[in-house]
């Protein structure tokens, strides 16, 4: 009996330790975002409730925030819409025609998802300048399609595969057109899949910095790329307070939707393969 309780004690100590290791840094970021510059230099863990950092981020003073927040929101929302518009029909085709769910198509989509951004920045910079969408929101949304469309297609297909084909056949024999069938029957059935896909597309787009820092400049910099510029110089003169406020902002979507998405995280990170 004693042995068991010691074991349980160690177990809980370990788990609580893990929770602290993950919770404390997040608390510290929030604390720094609420501290004035001299206070940050002292390294105190208790913030002095200096709210100017947050005002600066919201108004875009000092180059972080302001339009960056709007840009990030527009880019992420548009990416979700575009990925769903392209992804839902394609995923339907894959889940209904077995010959399409083959490894060649999957491999091709997978390689696009896995392409290192470092290999894409040079072609995108050249191409986007050539067709005049460099430093526009369109350009960013289009560039992110290379990651978002493969994710949305395969994630949605894995959800759609669990909806029986007999439903399609019954609806078509009842005289439903493809469009009406989608609207009335199919989309309501794969709503959870659409939700999870939107979540992951949003998170990936919202988090991306590398490509954005190359193909945007003045008019379309998202929050992450602004953060990068303001912190690019190692050493003096970094406004940690404002940067931390922006950092907290970038973390909000992931944390806010975490509870809702928690059951689907393994699926989302593995393109629906697990």
């Amino acid at each position: 009996m004693m042995k068991v309780s010691v074991k349980t004690l160690i177990r809980y100590a370990f788990l609580i330790g893990a929770a602290v290791v993950f919770a404390f840094p997040l608390y510290y970021l929030i604390a720094v975002s609420l501290s004035s510059k001299p206070h940050i230099e002292t390294g105190s863990l208790i913030p002095d409730m200096f709210t100017k950092n947050w005002n600066d981020v919201i108004s875009g003073f000092g180059g972080i925030g302001g339009s960056g927040i709007t840009n990030s929101l527009i880019i992420s929302a548009s990416s979700v819409v575009v990925s769903l518009i392209l992804g839902i029909p394609a995923a339907y085709a894959i889940s209904r025609h077995k010959f399409m769910a083959n490894k060649h198509l999957f491999f091709w989509f997978l390689t696009n998802r896995m392409t290192p951004p470092a290999c894409l920045i040079l072609p995108y910079l050249v191409m986007w300048r050539a067709i005049g969408i460099w430093d526009t929101l369109y350009g960013l949304v289009m560039a992110y399609m290379v990651f978002n469309v493969p994710i949305s297609v395969w994630l949605l297909a894995s959800f759609m595969a669990s909806i029986p084909r007999e439903i399609d056949e019954a609806a078509f024999i009842d005289g439903y057109s493809l469009a009406r069938y989608f609207r009335k029957i199919f989309l309501p059935l794969c709503l959870p899949g659409i939700g999870v896909t939107s979540f992951f597309v949003w998170i990936y787009t919202w988090s991306e910095m590398f490509i954005a820092s190359i193909i945007s400049s003045v008019h379309s910099k998202p929050l992450t790329a602004q953060l990068m510029i303001s912190l690019g110089r190692v050493g003096w003169g970094v406004e940690y307070g404002i940067a931390s406020a922006a950092g907290v902002l970038t973390m909000i979507p992931g944390i806010a939707l975490l509870y809702w998405a928690r059951a689907y995280l393994a699926k989302g990170f593995t393109f629906g393969r697990i």
């Binding site: 997040l26 029909p89 072609p123 940690y240 931390s244 950092g247 990170f269």
Partner: protein
């Protein structure tokens, strides 16, 4: 024809024809639906394939006297004899090996510790995944705040007299990046293997326990084979992602001190964008992408072994 004149048979014919035409229409509808894949394919061709044609085009040219001349594989020869490229590549591979060999056992351990269904476990497993869902650049910022001299970890190291200075000592910077990556991604291994464990049949474990197997034997011979697919899968994803590390490092130390922590993405960005040596940059990008492509192929083999894709 005489048969048709009777009312009964006419009804039969009408029913036959209408039913078949409905079935035909239904069949046509499901046949048409296979073309629904086209928009996505076209989109990925434009944003995924065309860039590679551009890269290939640049990789075989070099500017000479205000003109681009064809130099065949010269750029590739130059990039593989460039010490900075080879160093960055080697360093990145060592880094990936380090983080994977730490994160896989640790992630598995956490998955087993969190296996039992309870409220505490649910809260903790939700909490540890947060870093994987926030921008890597914010993780970099967070860790830079933690390790600077006035930050909590910096102060702690000073208190323990470790002589810790990641901005001057390369190995300190390296291990800080490893620690940061562990903090960032260990939970991914945990959640994916947890999903595998949750879907696993417990009967063999119970019977092994009755037979008197030790905890390690149960893990090694019963549980590990059952979760090998998710484990290998997520490890390969982590391997590919760790080869792409950029955001966190650039914020933490800027690849420094000096060039001692410059990873492959950062080097390629420097040469292709900052220095605008596009021929060599494109050649390096193609080599880098080829390595990732091979790993993707390995992932595909793992994934399709003994199971369908959908």
């Amino acid at each position: 024809m005489t048969m048709l004149t009777t009312g009964y048979n006419l009804n039969l014919w009408i029913r036959f024809i209408s039913e078949n035409s409905l079935k035909l229409m239904a069949a046509r509808r499901s046949a048409v639906s296979k073309y629904l894949i086209l928009p996505a394919v076209v989109a990925v061709l434009v944003v995924g394939l065309v860039p590679f044609l551009v890269l290939i085009n640049y990789s075989v040219q070099t500017p000479y006297a205000e003109q681009n001349v064809f130099v065949a594989f010269n750029n590739f020869r130059k990039i593989v004899s460039e010490p900075r490229f080879i160093d960055a590549l080697r360093r990145n591979i060592i880094f990936s090996a380090t983080v994977l060999s730490i994160e896989i056992p640790l992630g598995l351990l956490l998955a087993f510790l969190l296996y039992e269904k309870s409220k505490v476990n649910a809260v903790i497993s939700t909490f540890i995944i947060i870093p994987a869902l926030v921008p890597p650049i914010s993780i970099g910022l967070l860790w830079r705040l933690l390790i600077r001299t006035a930050g909590p970890l910096g102060q702690l190291a000073a208190l323990m007299n470790l002589g810790y200075d990641p901005f001057k000592i390369p190995s300190h910077a390296y291990w800080t990046i490893v620690l940061m990556d562990m903090w960032h991604w260990t939970s991914l291994i945990t959640i994916v293997t947890s999903a595998g464990l949750a879907g696993m049949d417990r009967t063999p474990v119970l019977s092994a326990r009755t037979e008197g197997a030790t905890r390690w034997q149960i893990f090694r011979h019963v549980e590990l084979p059952a979760i090998s697919f998710p484990l290998v899968f997520v490890s390969l994803i982590r391997l590919i992602d760790s080869l792409k590390i950029y955001d966190e490092v650039i914020i933490l130390t800027g690849g420094g001190p000096g060039l001692t922590n410059e990873y492959i993405s950062q080097y390629l960005k420097t040469i292709a964008i900052d220095q605008w040596i596009i021929g060599i940059g494109a050649a390096g990008s193609l080599i880098y992408n080829f390595i990732v492509l091979m790993l993707c192929y390995l992932l595909l083999i793992v994934m399709t072994r003994g199971r369908g894709l959908i």
